[in-house]
Symmetry: C3
Subunit: 289 residues, 3 copies
């Protein structure tokens, strides 16, 4: 017997200034009114699969069982798919463009998958072209939430044929590490693809090099007690972020998503020398896009 | 016996940076906690009834039965009204300023209407001036959702006295059509007030003229396979949109809402000549406001 | 016996471009799926406790019984607290940084309070640093909504030790009043910390002085019939706002949050002389931040 679902976690690049996100909520309310739709974010930059993939992976450990509807570049050339995970506790509905790869892996990997075709059995008719998020993905979500069968969604596709995600991996470089800014949050903290294991045995702080700039950063945990200067602080997702107390590190240092940062252990002389920062007298800028 | 309602679809020009939209949700939760409020969008530009009207009309086919609460320029000089449609399956609550005219027509037309007065029987008291969306519209929505009678909302008003909407209509011009950009979505696609019937028998593509610019556009359906150059593509609402693959057509071509576009059938020589576009090396700009 | 709660009213400085707000919704859905989360606004500027405090106080009269989750500067140096009000009808969960002081006062004052520690009995484990809004505040909200005891949240703290809020108070100055712009809404109306009692007996209008500018403003109620020129109008929260019909007063006059405005009764000669305003031919600008 097919199970039904109560929750749809929804992430997209649709923004909120158009009515598309609201229409997806309306379709769900109309077809499966018992469901709660959770808006993770809809402000992923248009077509930015990597940013969408990382946001979804960060949220993943907190999502309730149910459907994940992820729509970044959803009307592009890649087909839509449904991917079942965790013995059916969850189903991802998304374009097969790598967007959900990291999140599916965090959920234990794909059990099975089907194609969601524009003229598939559960798709809505459109008065014009197919709007994938509305006509294909939301309609499939309603079908599943109402207890409809996974197999009825469309033809099976091998989970080995699903497009993998592209996750930026830091790499060793002599006695240091070449990392990358993977996310700048609203407060201007610049998350790196580097965690505690990477910096084990670097008790004296870290020397950060990017562009022509070199900074010393002491290590911290969290954002409460950053002290003065630039810090490399363990953030709430288990990765290190470049941060400055109550200021936007991204704006102050001129870094953004994709900036390459070289990290190396600080030498003895550098330890405890806090990095001078000419803090501008203003509130943090919005994060670099 | 009056019916009760489960859903309130909500569109406004209130933005989300103030707390007004949240307060409407709070009022509904407080007075009619069984109701689901669906936010269509709140980013309609202040006072822009036409944009609000078009967004509401685009969403209309997907809304569940229930209340439509539409508040663009709601604290202006026009009174608030309640308009019943579809034999009571739906009720619009809005200022009588043309905002809901197109959507009401799509719902089959108005059955009856009443005035919603600031000191009406269902209105909330304010500690200062009346905030129409909160004190009049949300309060009336709660009344109806709880099974309150339509007639109790206020004095009847003739549906012939409701303000009509102003819908931009394309017009014939020699062998061509003068159309207008009516919407630019987040991806920069520029929707025209032109549908398939208008271009029937134009198989060779379309010559677009606007300002001093002339472009050839091939016809497409949807946004997945746009190919190179400028396309006139059937969008998911059954209208044609000027689009460029993975770029903002509005930004590239310098067009926005209200830009007049002349369309004429491409001549034989022009067929298949794709329009050169100097694509800038960047992500799509936000839509022109 | 502990009571359970159905509603969480949620205000923050987290924005919606990151997934944090969505993750709080997800945590609530996962741990207390019967709860409705009401988003008041998440666009409070980062760390701007005063703006958050005022928005929360404006919304307060309309919130349903239940939890208020307020997170502005929530990962700062101040500890998180739970504050019970109104004999348990409501509980505030927030950093103890003055953010909730005005709203708590509006709810009748604090009955009792406890500290919410990062490693407290209801806190969620993090894979990195504690994210207070997610791991502490949302987790405590779920505990209370499920009928968990207030006392179990953490160690008691004296309500006399809670940080008071800083509310800007207008002051008399000769025959006038020195007021301050405390809020600019999306439409550019500039709310002052002045109400009807302050201007009782000023029937001839008000002379506004700010910077090098002097304007005459007639008094109005609401925004529907502002007439020409600058008005001082009673807004929907019982305070006076500087407004211009269908234009942004803040943009036209170059004022914003924190601008000091001197008000004095207009002299006989000034009465009825409307202030000339060179209205720019454009839509209202977004409010000054």
């Amino acid at each position: 017997m097919a199970r039904s679902y109560q929750h749809v976690s929804f992430l997209s690049d649709l923004g909120r200034s158009d009515e598309h996100v609201g229409v997806v909520h309306a379709v769900m309310a109309d077809l499966a009114s018992h469901v709660t739709v959770i808006d993770l974010t809809h402000d992923i930059a248009p077509y930015d699969n990597r940013a969408g993939s990382l946001a979804l992976a960060r949220a993943m450990p907190y999502l309730p069982d149910g459907i994940v509807l992820a729509a970044v570049d959803a009307s592009g050339t890649r087909p839509a798919v449904a991917v079942e995970v965790a013995g059916g506790k969850g189903v991802f509905l998304a374009p097969d463009n790598g967007l959900i790869a990291a999140a599916v892996a965090l959920a234990g990997g794909a059990d099975r998958a089907v194609l969601l075709l524009p003229d598939g059995p559960t798709a809505l008719a459109s008065s014009g072209a197919t709007l994938v998020v509305r006509d294909v993905l939301a309609a499939a979500a309603a079908h599943l939430c109402n207890g409809g069968s996974f197999d009825d969604l469309g033809p099976a596709v091998s989970i080995d044929d699903l497009l993998p995600g592209v996750v930026p991996i830091a790499r060793e470089d002599g006695d240091g590490i070449i990392a990358e800014v993977v996310w700048v949050d609203r407060f201007g903290n610049a998350q790196l693809n580097v965690g505690p294991d990477d910096l084990a045995g670097w008790p004296g702080g870290v020397r950060l090099s990017f562009g022509d700039d070199v900074r010393h950063a002491d290590l911290s945990v969290g954002f409460a007690d950053l002290g003065a200067g630039v810090r490399l602080t363990l953030d709430s997702h288990g990765l290190y972020a470049i941060a400055i107390a109550r200021h936007s590190a991204a704006a102050e240092l001129g870094i953004g998503v994709g900036t390459e940062i070289r990290l190396e252990p600080a030498t003895t002389e550098q330890q405890g020398v806090s990095s001078p920062v000419s803090l501008r007298d203003r509130r943090p800028s919005p994060p670099l896009q």
